[in-house]
């Protein structure tokens, strides 16, 4: 996840700069230097494209080629010929369904593992073995079960989302400060109420860390899954445009996928602030 740029971190730097009261510094740290980074990439791309024009289009060429996609993100010109906005929505739908299902299963399992040592001993080896398996390896199994591309893709995302959330939830639950448990005990709080009044809120920062890692990987994986399953989605779009030797659209797709991933992480970080009333742990 270190490749993923953290929008929240950029904003944190920006707000820090405002507190220092220096507008020049704000402009430099949150606008100028990041812009310089992007400029560097474009220059590099341009240079390569100029030297080997057979290899790839230059940035202005790519922009002109993509103008239709950019101006009409939501066109519908027949079955399967949809604007990039629709493709994005289709991919997001799969990711979100799989991710939410994964979270609904992973958080309770993480609680069980974190609270009970026998559960931890029983489930930890299974998790340790499944965790390093590329989620794509589950695709044939999913296709065998569902016989359909769409549920299979969602299933793969579901599996992808499980492990980081389970592991982080279990870590959070097992590391709830004994002081908090002591408070609950002295107040004679019943165990089930301790779970949702003490243990759940205390481990929320860890749970959110797990969710953010899960969602990040899920967004990585959906592109690969869609390349394999085909159908409507941003991943298949990348593959399809490559087959048509339309590299300009692939560049556009890479940009769109990157920005969407960033926004997903940012949205989850905002949700964390809303739910926990606390600043998120920076996960970079």
């Amino acid at each position: 996840m270190s490749v993923q740029m953290n929008l929240a971190a950029v904003f944190a730097v920006a707000t820090q700069a405002t507190w220092k009261g220096s507008k020049a510094l704000l402009a430099k740290e949150s606008v100028f230097l990041p812009a310089l980074g992007f400029l560097g990439i474009i220059v590099l791309w341009w240079a390569i494209a100029l030297l080997r024009s057979d290899l790839m289009p230059t940035p202005p060429e790519a922009f002109v080629n993509n103008l239709d996609f950019i101006l009409n993100p939501f066109y519908q010109r027949g079955p399967g010929d949809l604007g990039i906005g629709w493709l994005l929505i289709a991919s997001l739908r799969r990711v979100l369904i799989g991710f939410v299902l994964g979270a609904l299963v992973a958080i309770p399992i993480g609680f069980l593992i974190g609270m009970s040592r026998p559960m931890m001993l029983a489930l930890n080896p299974v998790i340790q073995i499944f965790k390093p398996v590329s989620p794509l390896a589950w695709l044939p199994i999913a296709l065998a079960i569902f016989n359909l591309a769409d549920p299979s893709a969602i299933f793969v995302i579901f599996i992808t989302s499980l492990w980081p959330t389970i592991i982080n939830t279990a870590l959070g639950v097992s590391s709830v400060s004994q002081d908090f448990i002591d408070v609950a005990c002295v107040l004679e709080m019943p165990k089930w109420r301790q779970i949702y009044k003490i243990i759940l809120p205390a481990s929320l920062p860890y749970i959110f860390t797990g969710l953010r890692i899960s969602l990040g990987i899920a967004w990585l994986v959906i592109v690969a899954v869609e390349m394999l399953t085909g159908g409507i989605g941003i991943g298949f779009f990348v593959w399809d445009e490559w087959s048509r030797l339309n590299l300009s659209s692939v560049f556009l797709a890479v940009l769109v996928i990157g920005v969407t991933g960033l926004l997903l992480d940012f949205a989850l970080a905002r949700l964390q602030v809303l739910v926990t009333h606390r600043k998120p742990l920076t996960t970079n």
């Binding site: 002591d182 408070v183 005990c185 002295v186």
Partner: protein, 279 residues
């Protein structure tokens, strides 16, 4: 080794149940040691605390004074011996013996008000909401925290946090207050201020208090009796020091009396004696 027991003015001799409010009998706490034997922390502790008495436990770190407090709280079990509160055996934690923790133990996801409310909700479950809110407000006012009621624990100072801890403890109306080095993590100025505040509150609402401390001045200023533990392992009650100053107490007046220095020197000598035998 016990000094003669002076009755505090409001200690009515007819009420023996009040005098034997908390009774610790032959209490021993031991952990299994790695060599198969036992590591005895507390050895045969006997102590009685009356209903309106402020008692301090003092001793070197590691002597087991916090363990003793936790056993009274029910957070740890004694290996043998008996702890009774109003004649009933203490077996598990209970809201009749509320703790004030050294590191405050406030829930960081709740505001100051919500932290106190959580305790009130849990213990005074049957009360209507308006009455609960009233209790929370009263106790916020008692520790001068009305202005910070809606702040989160990491937005307030250590002294304020401990005031929340004290308000939370008092709000559930415990029969007994257990304080584990409540001022230990505070700077000296804040500590002095908070000691005075807590003593003021206690002087207005007397109840049984057991406070662990390692500060002799704090123990003399605040408590009616000082229980001095010998060094662990096998810590025992070495001596119980009566502090005969009447309440309400004024720290400056106390410091001017020669008795204060006698008590202080006596306690320090006791601690020094055990210190030199340790290291």
């Amino acid at each position: 080794m016990f000094k003669s027991t002076l009755q505090s003015p409001d200690n009515n001799p007819t009420q023996s149940s009040e005098a034997n409010f908390l009774v610790i009998e032959n209490l021993t706490k031991a952990y299994p040691a790695s060599n198969g034997g036992e590591f005895v922390v507390l050895d045969n502790i006997n102590l009685t605390i009356s209903a309106n008495e402020y008692v301090s436990l003092i001793g070197h770190s590691g002597c087991g004074k916090s363990t003793l407090l936790k056993i009274v709280a029910g957070l740890e079990r004694a290996t043998s011996g008996l702890v009774t509160l109003e004649g009933k055996e203490v077996r598990k934690p209970g809201c009749d013996r509320m703790m004030v923790f050294q590191h405050y133990s406030l829930l960081p996801w709740l505001t100051v008000r919500e932290n106190i409310r959580l305790a009130v909700d849990e213990v005074l479950e049957g009360l209507p909401n308006s009455e609960k809110a009233q209790i929370v407000n009263e106790h916020l006012a008692m520790v001068n925290l009305m202005g910070a009621a809606n702040k989160y624990p990491d937005e307030i100072s250590g002294g304020m946090k401990q005031r929340v801890g004290i308000a939370r403890a008092l709000a559930i109306r415990p029969k007994m207050l257990l304080m584990d080095e409540p001022f230990g993590a505070l700077d000296a100025l804040t500590r002095g201020k908070l000691q005075k505040q807590v003593l003021d509150i206690w002087e207005n609402h007397r109840q049984a208090v057991m406070m662990v401390t390692h500060d002799v001045d704090e123990a003399i200023y605040m408590s009616d009796r000082i229980v001095m533990l010998t060094n662990g392992p096998n810590a025992q009650i070495g001596e119980i020091l009566e502090v005969p100053f009447p309440h309400p107490r004024d720290r400056q007046q106390l410091r001017e009396s020669s008795l204060y220095f006698e008590l202080r020197n006596h306690a320090l000598n006791f601690l020094d004696r055990y210190f030199s035998s340790d290291d």
